[in-house]
Amino acid sequence: MLHLALFLMFGAICIAGAINLLVQSHPINSALSLIAVMASLAVEYLLLGAEFVAAVQVIIYAGAIMVLFVFVIMLLNAGVEERTRGSRVAILFGIPGVLVGSVLIAWLLLRHSGTTAVGIGALPGSPQTIGWLLFHDFLLPFEVTSVLVLIAIMGAVVLASRPESIEERRQG
C-alpha cells in the first residue's frame, strides 16, 4: 500500500518535471527539472526492486551527464530563450498525434507483452544478476555497444579539435 502510494507520487513528480522542462523558458530551470525527472525515475526503479539500476541512474544520469549539461549552460551563459507562438500545424496535428500515439503504445504494451502488472519489488535487480546477464548472456551486444560508444567519443574529439591544428600536424 505504502509502496503503491510512493510509486504513484513519484510517477506524478516525474511527469510534472517533464512538463516543467518544456514550459520553462530558462535553460537552467529546464536542466534542473530534467534532474528531477531522472531522480524520480530512479525512485521508481528502486520501488520495483531494481536497486542497482536505480543507483546507476542517479550516478550516471543525475550525477554525471546532467552536471555536464549544467556546466555547458553555465559556460555559455545561455540566456532566456525566445518564444514564438508555435505553428498552427503543430497544434492541429501534434497534440492529437501525441495522444493517439501514447494510447496506442500503452494498449499494445498491456495487450501483447504477455506480462501482467509487475509486482512491487518483484524484478530481479541485484548487481549479481545484472552482472551475470551483461557478461554472459548479452556479452556480444554489450561489447558492440562499447565499440559504438568508443566511436562516438572519437568522433566528438575529431569534431571538437580545431581544423587548423590538424592541418599543421599534417604539414609538420
Binding site: I35, I59, A62, G63, L68, F71, M74, P127
Partner: protein, 345 residues
Amino acid sequence: MNVKTYIFVSVIKTVIALFVLLTAVAYSVWLERKVVGHIQNRWGPQRVGPFGLLQPLADGIKFLFKEDLTPPHVYKPLYIAAPMIAVTMALTSIALIPVGETVDLRGLRIPLQITDVNIGLLIILGVTSIGVYGVALAGWSSNSKYSLLGGLRASAQMVSYEISLGLSLVGVLIMAGSFSLRAIVDAQKGFFWGFIPNWNLFHGQEVAFFVYLMSAFAETNRVPFDLPEAETELVAGYHTEYSAMKFAMFFMAEYANMITVSCLATLLFLGGWIGPLFGPPLLRAILPVLWFFLKVLAFMFLYIWVRGTLPRFRYDQLMGFAWKFLFPLAIANLVVTGLIVALRA
C-alpha cells in the same frame, strides 16, 4: 523486531549520528586551525576556553547573528537552494556508514549504522554526485564573475576526479565481492604472514588507495586541489556572495564531506572497525567503535597535514593529473586486480 521498536531504534540512531557528525564537523574546523597553526609556528585558537576548545561554539553563534545579505543581482530561488542542496547531500551519506559490529542489546540485534543496504557504496556515490549541484548552482546563481569561475572549476574538477575515484573503488569491490560496506569490512579480517593485518591498504590495493586519496582530496575541494575557492585569484570562488548561515552551510558541507570521505577510506582500505580486542566484555563492545574513530581521525589529520604542507596546483596541471595520470593508473590497477582475483578463483 516489531515496527514500534524498529522506528524507536532508528530515530535514536539518527539523532546520535547527526549529533556526532555535527560535533565532529565543528571540531574538525578547530583541529584544522590548531594543527595548521602549529605547522606555521603559531598557536591557533586559544582564547575561547581551554586550548580554544569553545571556539567552534563561538563561531556558530557568530554565524547566527551575522546579517544575512542577499545581493540584488542574484537569481534568488537557486541562490537560496544551493547551500541547502550542498549541506543536505553532505549530511545524508552518513546514514550508510557503519561504525561497528552488530551489538546485542537484551535480545535486540542492533547494527551500528542507521541503515544497512546491500548497495550502500553505490548510494553514497550517488548522493555525493548530486552534491556537486550545490557548488555549481551557487556559482551560477550568484551572478558574479568570481563565483561563476569557481562554480565552473568545481564542476569540471569534480566530474573529472569522480571517474578515477569510482574506478579506484572497483578493485576493493572485486576483492570483497559485495557493495555492502559491512561485507567489505568483513572481507578484511585476519592477518597474512602471521602479523600484517589483512587490510586492503596492505594487501593488494596500495595503488587504489593512492588514487582514492588524490581523487578524494580533489572531490572535497581541498588543498592542493582547492582551485574552486582559490583566495588569491577568485576571492572565495563559488561562495563569494554568501554570508551568515548560508555561508556556514557551505562550510559545514565541506567538512562533512571530508568526514564522509575519511569514513569511506577507513571502511574500504583501513579495515573499518577491525583492531585488537581485549579486556572485559564491555570494553570489547566499545573497542571496535574506538578503532574506527581513531582511524577516521588519523585520515582527517592527514588531510590537514597536507593542507599545511603543499601549495596549490595550476589549473592545467590539475586536469592533466586527473586525466593523464590518475585515470590510466586506476584502470591499470583494476585490470591487475581483476586478473589476480580471476586466476586465484
